[in-house]
Amino acid sequence: MNLRIMSRSLRIVPREKAFYFFTSIGNYTGASALSLKEFMEKISEVNVKSLEFHLYRGDFEKWVNDVLQDGELAADIRRLQKLNLVGEALRNQLFLTVSRRLRRLAT
């Protein structure tokens, strides 16, 4: 694994670059993630409506790509959109995708 990619993907970002979870336009849940690890943790905790809202707007993919600069994970998340998953099935798949990437980055 390229060390530069690893350190970019695993770093803690400043507050203004964090991912903020919303359930709909303007409705902030109070959950945020400053790193990929925290992002994975929040995926398993937040209201599933928030996951549906962000996945299909492309917000997860954009944050992972633009802020963490992890194009590979961004592509994996983009592929999830095409499965049209909702509810807990979406939560499980998203969690799996991110946790798998985290494991790969850590080894």
């Binding site: 507050r15 964090a18 303007g26």
Partner: protein, 180 residues
């Protein structure tokens, strides 16, 4: 040169508004562009009296400024209006409210004394997406913001400024408003 002390009524060093002042204020609130003569004619007082009273109230900040009420939608500007409620850590509520006041998108900001300390604000944006970006990029990252609830306005039924006119009529022109 206008000298406020020439027309001030003082009681223990505090100036008071009388019935004529209040009626002038009411007339200005209905139409701030009418002339001193028109107001004087309506109230049955000389235009110089109206002039002096208005200058006195401007001088003391009772009349703060004269503005145009612009319909943003008709002017082709911002077209989404939203009422947002911001729940914060009580320790930072004032800081968050002050920060909100700095944003051009935010028109009004209030803090509330309800069970849970919160800030209410009226926000305008060009689109729903711009509204979301503002809350996501500028509001949510502020330290102490716990969550945000947003209601997008679908129809406006009434929007007025505070008026000196007493809707019930019971106390019209009987009040004495003190100002420093």
């Amino acid at each position: 040169m206008y000298e406020a002390r020439d027309v001030l009524k003082l009681r223990d060093g505090v100036a008071t508004l009388d019935a004529t002042d209040l009626r002038i204020l009411q007339a200005l609130q209905e139409n701030a562009r009418q002339t001193y003569t028109a107001i004087g004619k309506r109230l049955g007082v000389a235009h110089s009296t109206v002039y002096d009273r208005i200058k006195k109230m401007e001088h003391h900040g009772v009349v703060r400024k004269y503005v145009a009420l612009v319909d943003a939608e008709k002017a082709g500007g911002k077209s989404i209006t939203a009422m947002i409620t911001v729940y914060t850590d009580p320790k930072v509520i004032e800081k968050v409210a002050e920060k909100l006041c700095e944003a051009a998108e935010v028109l009004e900001v209030y803090t509330s004394l309800s069970e849970e300390l919160q800030i209410m604000a009226k926000v305008v944006a060009e689109t729903q997406e711009r509204l979301h970006e503002f809350i996501s990029d500028s509001l949510a990252p502020l330290p102490g913001v716990l969550r945000v609830r947003t209601s997008i306005v679908t129809k406006k039924f009434k929007e007025e400024q505070f008026s000196m006119a007493d809707p019930s009529g019971a106390n019209a022109y009987k009040r004495t408003t003190e100002y420093k």
